[in-house]
């Protein structure tokens, strides 16, 4: 597809050059036909508009007489051109990482419902999110119930295919999960503005903290005691610095018990162990209003510390100690459709016994339209005590269906 686009551009440029710079050649019949065809483009649009009928004042009838929900689909395609083999899940060079189908509508005057189904080659079909939301509550409260992205940190609230990088930052992958942290439960939020700027407090309780490992079995269900459920809080602070720039500084915390592998148990192979995360995220955005189609800049960082309960059991094989990680991400808009991005990651990797992992990555992002994205990424990963390696990845995403607002 890229090659085809490139060829199309090259051909267009040649034709343009022939038409404009070399009038002598323009006398040739072939070129003349091409020129006439190109000239017809613009006029065709004008004619098309003129043909379009006028709608009388007062509006047409309902635009959705059958009350159908909005249905949309997003495809997330990956290719890995790394020199030493693929780094994608399953070792594929080309992969359909996920197809997400979203169904969204008002349920009744009180609730809005959203369902996101995920399909991929490795895990089959899954209910990624399914929740109802209501703001018909006193005190300006909003509540949601079901499965949703846990309000912890900044990027965790963005669908993976909507990221401006190919994967979540390493600290999120290691501390929250490769596909981010989701939960099934209830969440309540309240918007505040006692100091004149936007603040929001979100409180969440979910069935369990993180995704359950099906291979682990505890003597009693981890969620048997209410205190073992997953609990999260997030406090957002957003300030407009100028009309063109703003900053968001937020703090998040999540705690709960998770099943962790333990040897030598009479019943099962895991015990519930408390794990907590505390994070702070900062996002600075700049977009000049008049040139906003062509120029923008975002600088974002998150710092997360993981606390693990001390377990004296000698057979315990789960994470121990406390670990810290973070990332810094920047993206500058080069043209109307092109962006240049970079990210630096570091963390004390619990999967490597707390050894430091560093990674640096660069991205070239191109949006043919609002509904498609091409992303070329290079990443250098350097774990302490292990060999560094490089990744060369290409991502193409596309969206079908109604225009959905882009989360801020």
């Amino acid at each position: 597809m890229t090659m085809r686009v490139r060829l199309s551009w090259a051909a267009s440029t040649v034709v343009f050059g022939m038409a404009i710079a070399t009038p002598g050649l323009a006398q040739q019949d072939t070129t003349k036909r091409v020129r006439d065809s190109l000239a017809a483009d613009s006029a065709a649009l004008v004619r098309e508009l003129a043909r379009a009928s006028a709608r009388p004042a007062g509006g047409a009838g309902p635009t959705n007489a059958r009350l159908l929900p909005d249905v949309s689909a997003v495809g997330d395609l990956l290719a890995d051109f790394s020199r030493n083999g693929s780094t994608l899940e399953g070792g594929h060079r080309f992969s359909v990482r996920e197809v997400e189908v979203a169904i969204q509508a008002a349920v009744d005057p009180y609730f809005r419902g959203e369902v996101f189904l995920g399909f991929n080659d490795e895990e089959g079909a899954a209910v990624e999110q399914a929740f109802i939301v209501t703001s018909s509550l006193p005190l300006g409260l909003e509540a949601r119930g079901g499965r949703f992205l846990m309000p912890f940190g900044k990027q965790n609230l963005t669908h993976r295919h909507d990221l401006h990088t190919i994967d979540y930052p390493w600290v999120l992958q290691r501390f929250l999960g490769a596909e981010g942290l989701k939960g099934t439960g209830v969440s309540v939020s309240k918007v505040l503005a006692p100091f004149g700027f936007y603040q929001e407090l979100q409180l969440t309780a979910v069935d369990q903290f993180g995704e359950a490992d099906e291979a682990l079995e505890t003597e009693e269900p981890v969620n048997k005691r209410l205190g073992n459920l997953g609990y999260a809080a997030r406090f957002r602070n957003y300030v407009d610095l100028t009309k063109h720039a703003n900053i968001e500084v937020s703090a998040s915390v999540v705690t709960g018990k998770r099943a962790q592998p333990t040897a030598g148990l009479v019943v099962g192979n895991a015990i519930p162990v408390r794990q907590s995360l505390v994070g702070i995220d900062v996002t600075y955005r700049w977009r000049p209003l008049q040139q906003g189609l062509y120029r923008s800049f975002i600088l974002q960082g998150e710092l997360i510390r993981q606390f693990n309960e001390d377990i004296a059991d000698p057979g315990y094989q789960g994470p121990v100690g406390n670990h810290t990680g973070g990332y810094l991400f920047g993206r500058y808009q080069l043209t109307r459709r092109g962006y240049l991005g970079a990210r630096y990651d570091w963390l004390d990797d619990p999967d490597l016994g707390g050894e430091r992992l560093r990674a640096g990555s660069g991205y070239l992002e191109f949006f043919p339209s609002e509904f498609s994205k091409l992303l070329l990424g290079f990443e250098r990963v350097a774990p302490t005590g292990g060999p560094a390696y490089g990744r060369i990845l290409f991502q193409a995403t596309f969206a079908l269906g109604p225009h959905k607002p882009h989360p801020f």
């Binding site: 051909a11 034709v15 020129r35 508009l49 379009a52 709608r55 109307r336 801020f408």
Partner: protein, 311 residues
């Protein structure tokens, strides 16, 4: 027992009068309709009709592309307290409006509520596509062209809609809204008389526009848009399209390219140079250029500037 002297009585009277005035002004402030609009044009017209019975804010700026507004949380705070949310409609705000309305959690401005004002309902919309519509046609608006405020006759329709809706929400002000509407229409009629000559001079004159946003303006003035910089709505121009457009401009004698201040002027300048034309940056909304602070002034500026350019 001590009695209050003349000075004391005077002070008490002054305090009572002050408290009464304060209470009265507070009550007046409390009863003012809080109106938030998506664009500056809608706000300007709402303020002309609402007078001192409303207080208003707008979301997008006049020099900003209204299709691409960031749904900043600070806008949520404005909408949280609003009695009226008035927007252009026809999917102009589709990329950001629902985020703000959901975030505001304000039942007064939810769809179906009296404070939810889709202004396009008062407009005879043009460019409604017939037949199948899909995104291969670009950033097409299936419900029709949303840039209707660039026709001053639609400005009057917008004002009448505001009169009706404000009177519904604030019946005590119905008389004032009617009176304000009359004054606004009279002002616009006087301005139209001033630009009538220039408008007549534009009839049939071939021009090129960047985006389809100038279609209503063309309907009103009679100017003939023979081509667009965009090959399809919302799609940036490609070299091949520009080559064709230059041919069209030469063949049709189009000597002016009009564009909004938020598009890339360099591309328009290049085409203008090749086609022997000039580029005219026009404010598409109130506040779209320095000194363009009122609706009639914006229309007047655009008509006069274009008439001068096509001479």
């Amino acid at each position: 027992m001590r009695t209050i002297g003349r000075t004391g009585k005077t002070m008490i009277r002054a305090l009572v009068a002050g408290a009464w005035l304060f209470a009265a002004s507070s009550a007046a402030a409390q009863t003012r309709l809080k109106v938030v609009t998506s664009t500056t044009d809608l706000l300007y017209i709402a303020e002309q009709v609402g007078g001192n019975r409303i207080e208003g804010k707008h979301i997008s700026e006049g020099y900003q592309d209204p299709h691409f507004v960031e749904a900043k949380p600070s806008f949520v705070l404005d909408l949280r307290r609003a009695d009226v949310w008035a927007f252009v409609g026809l999917d102009l705000e589709i990329g950001w409006m629902s985020l703000l309305l959901n975030g505001a959690r304000n039942p007064k401005i939810k769809p179906g509520a009296p404070g939810y004002v889709d202004v396009s309902k008062a407009i005879p919309v043009i460019d409604v596509p017939s037949g199948a519509v899909d995104r291969s046609q670009g950033d097409v608006h299936p419900l029709g062209n949303p840039h209707y405020w660039l026709d001053p006759d639609n400005g009057k329709r917008i004002a009448r809609l505001f009169r009706d809706r404000f009177a519904e929400l604030d019946p005590a002000g119905a008389g004032a809204y009617e009176k304000n509407l009359g004054a606004f229409e009279a002002t616009l009629d006087r301005a139209a008389a001033e630009w009538a000559g220039a408008r007549a001079a534009l009839r049939g004159k071939p021009i090129v526009a960047w985006h389809t946003s100038w279609r209503y303006f063309a309907e009103y003035t009679g100017v003939d848009i023979v081509g667009f910089m965009e090959p399809k709505p919302g799609v940036p121009p490609s070299p091949s399209h520009l080559a064709g457009l230059i041919m069209t401009m030469k063949r049709r004698g189009a000597k002016v390219i009009i564009m909004e201040p938020y598009y890339d002027r360099k591309t328009a300048d290049f085409v203008a140079t090749k086609a022997g034309a000039t580029v005219l940056v026009l404010p598409p909304s109130v506040g779209g250029a320095k000194g363009i602070d009122d609706y009639g002034g914006m229309i007047r500026h655009n008509i006069l500037a274009l008439a001068k350019a096509v001479e």
